[in-house]
Amino acid sequence: MNLKNVLAAGAMVTVAGAALPAFAGPTLDAIKDRGTLLCGVSTGLAGFSNPDSEGSWSGLDVDVCKAIAASVLGDADAIQFTPLTAQQRFTALQSGEVDILSRNTTWTLTRDTSLGLNFAGVTFYDGQGFMVPKALGVSSALELDGAAVCVQPGTTTELNLSDFFRANGMSFDPVVIESLDEVNAAYFAGRCDVYTTDASGLASIRASVAPNPDDHIILPEIISKEPLGPVVRHGDDEWLDVVKWTVYALIEGEEKGINSANVDEMLNSTDPTVQRLLGTTPGMGENLGLAEEWAYNAIKQVGNYGEIFDRNVGPSTSLKLERGVNDLWSRGGLMYAMPAR
């Protein structure tokens, strides 16, 4: 091969490589160009993000991603889901492999700062709990001194667990396994005495994975605050606003009584807040860089926050979780949408 040609080719490759943007481009533009939202979810947690036997995903985190896809692209199914373990999730988001991480991730200071991430609101207020087999005869987390505890690595669960035991002068044997399936298998095989994760996760696992759900109890102590919500990268305020306000639109929709069944009639509502939210009065969509039907699409295709909650983790599902602190602020809970005006 002629060396001159080789050198010329090499020069062109270098120039082409240098012309690729250093990764900080506007995520929203990239999603619109691509036509798909890249959503990072868990490897399978019933009620939050779980694939069924045909590979279609469902869950609360999945519905949040669907709502965002509906508001940005007009189609709630224009999503590509990437299952991520607790260890991979942040690197996948930081590197651009996913646009948004909707994976029951706790909002903490370290993650908000030194990991280069932004949390776009809270979709589920949770707390960490413990699950033990009833046969152990334990009724409180303070009786767990010396127990073997199954936990996944790289989570706030791991840190809270050791803080709790240190604070109460107890010790424990950690059994630290990365894959959720393997950690479930280890607990139900008896390798460890206690399983710890967010209380909603415990309910989900007990309902879906336990050979006999009634053999296990979730201890009453909630040892931490775990506000779960969608996560995006630092450096893209536009995209952060889109995600944040889509979540608020779902909550505001429930507050205003808009659900997926009556959203079409609500287009004719005379309430100015509803008119602004659904785009009858234009302006909100344009401010976000989206079509004016952004909130309408989200609520119509996925439902409001209450519908999403009831469908995935509510009392009629196998998780049987009450709204509790996840209810609207007007009903005593913590779900509070900022005003869309």
């Binding site: 060396l3 010396g146 791991e158 630290v176 450096g235």
Partner: protein, 395 residues
């Protein structure tokens, strides 16, 4: 009539590029500049991107509090210690499983390799089945299998098997009593090392003596006597302390004694059996490569089959066996990073947790790469030295 000549113009008016030596230098300079430029571009790009997203950089995180527990380790560690110490615990765990795995895999691999060449049909066939079976199943699946077998088939701690007083086997691991700490034991440890050195010198002396007088000396028994006897003597002089730290079921689990965790056991089994199957084939190949005339001649001289193997065949086969076996040792060391799948806290497992809590993937992965590179280089250097030492000196 002037004849045009195109070659070597002494007036120097021809372009310097026509000189092949100048061209060679120019190409080499250009390539070096291109590689350095690419490297600089990559590093610069990475740093710019990290800064744009305000992800922390630098190795300062090694001094921050870790906040997570590690299930087992050779040194004291608690959640209040630093990330640096946590990584050190992981590193020592990796070394522990790699060293023990290499030793066991070598022994097992040699035995199976020789067994496959046995004239006993059953032994040879069993060895073949073992090698072909375990070579062809991915290591990760084997690790999952061993871990599942151990956790599922063993009973819980409250129904632990108790074959001998003080030894308990349950799905929390194998617990056995160890002597309670006493000042005599470090001296006993030194006595073991002294015994090993003495055994080496004894062996050398015995070989010289056999070369001079033809008499054999029972080196093996004498060496065993030294290595076991010297520490026992020290122990006797120290007052023969017999207090044992016995494991006892307290609350949820056993406390006291020494624990062999299921994670470590599963990782060790999986790595040893897998790597031994490869080493068995290497040993078999090395032995087959020694010309058959060697074993025929040695048997004609009246040497027993086991002496033939030990004194004639293996020394020649070792020259062929050692380089591929070095690769297998390196593979075993690097494969130990699969520990994260079954919960053994090796360097990569602890490091991954660190990456996740601090977000500093690049620094942590560069630590992994440096550690594995140094370990691998150490193993290679040692094996290359050993290879040179036993190489045949051609005349």
């Amino acid at each position: 009539m002037a004849v045009e000549t195109q070659d070597f113009d002494v007036t120097g008016r021809s372009s310097a590029l026509n000189d092949p030596r100048v061209r060679a230098v120019l190409y080499q300079v250009a390539i070096v500049v291109a590689v350095v430029g690419l490297g600089w571009y990559l590093v610069n790009n990475t740093i710019t991107n990290l800064q744009n997203q305000q992800i922390a950089t630098g190795f300062g995180f090694l001094e921050r509090e870790a906040g997570f527990e590690v299930s087992e380790g050779l040194i004291e560690y608690s959640a209040a210690d630093t990330y640096g110490r946590a990584l050190m615990v992981g590193f020592l765990n990796t070394i522990k499983v790699a060293v023990i795995g290499v030793i066991l895999a070598t022994i097992l691999g040699t035995v199976v390799g020789v067994a496959r060449l046995s004239s006993n049909w059953l032994v040879a066939k069993l060895a073949s089945v073992y090698v072909e079976g375990l070579r062809n199943i991915p290591l990760l699946l084997q690790l999952f299998f061993w871990y599942a077998v151990i956790t599922v088939s063993l009973p819980g701690p409250r129904q632990a098997m108790n074959p001998i007083e003080g030894v308990f086997l349950s799905n929390r691991g194998l617990m056995f009593p160890i002597p309670e700490s006493h000042p005599v034991f470090p001296f006993a440890g030194i006595a073991v090392i002294v015994g090993v050195i003495a055994a080496v010198f004894l062996d050398r002396w015995a070989v010289k003596r056999q070369a001079l007088t033809g008499e054999q000396f029972p080196v093996f028994s004498a060496a065993a006597g030294l290595i076991v006897g010297l520490p026992v003597l020290v122990w006797l002089f120290g007052g023969a302390p017999t207090a044992l730290d016995m494991p006892a079921l307290r609350g949820f689990n056993f406390r006291g004694g020494l624990t062999l965790s299921p994670e470590f056991a599963a990782l060790l089994f999986g790595l040893t059996l897998y790597t031994a199957s490869f080493i068995a084939e290497i040993v078999r190949g090395g032995i087959l490569a020694v010309p058959h005339g060697q074993s025929e001649a040695s048997e004609a001289l009246g040497l027993k089959r086991s002496w033939t193997l030990r004194l004639v065949i293996l020394p020649q086969a070792l020259r062929i066996i050692i380089p591929p076996t070095t690769s297998q040792y390196l593979n075993l060391t690097k494969n130990s990073s699969l520990a994260i799948a079954i919960g053994y806290p090796d360097l990569v497992a602890v490091g991954n947790t660190t990456i996740n809590q601090t977000g500093q993937a690049i620094e942590a992965i560069s630590i992994f790469m440096a550690v594995y590179l140094i370990l691998s280089l150490l193993i290679s250097v040692f094996m290359n030295w050993y290879n040179k030492k036993i190489a045949l000196v051609e005349r």
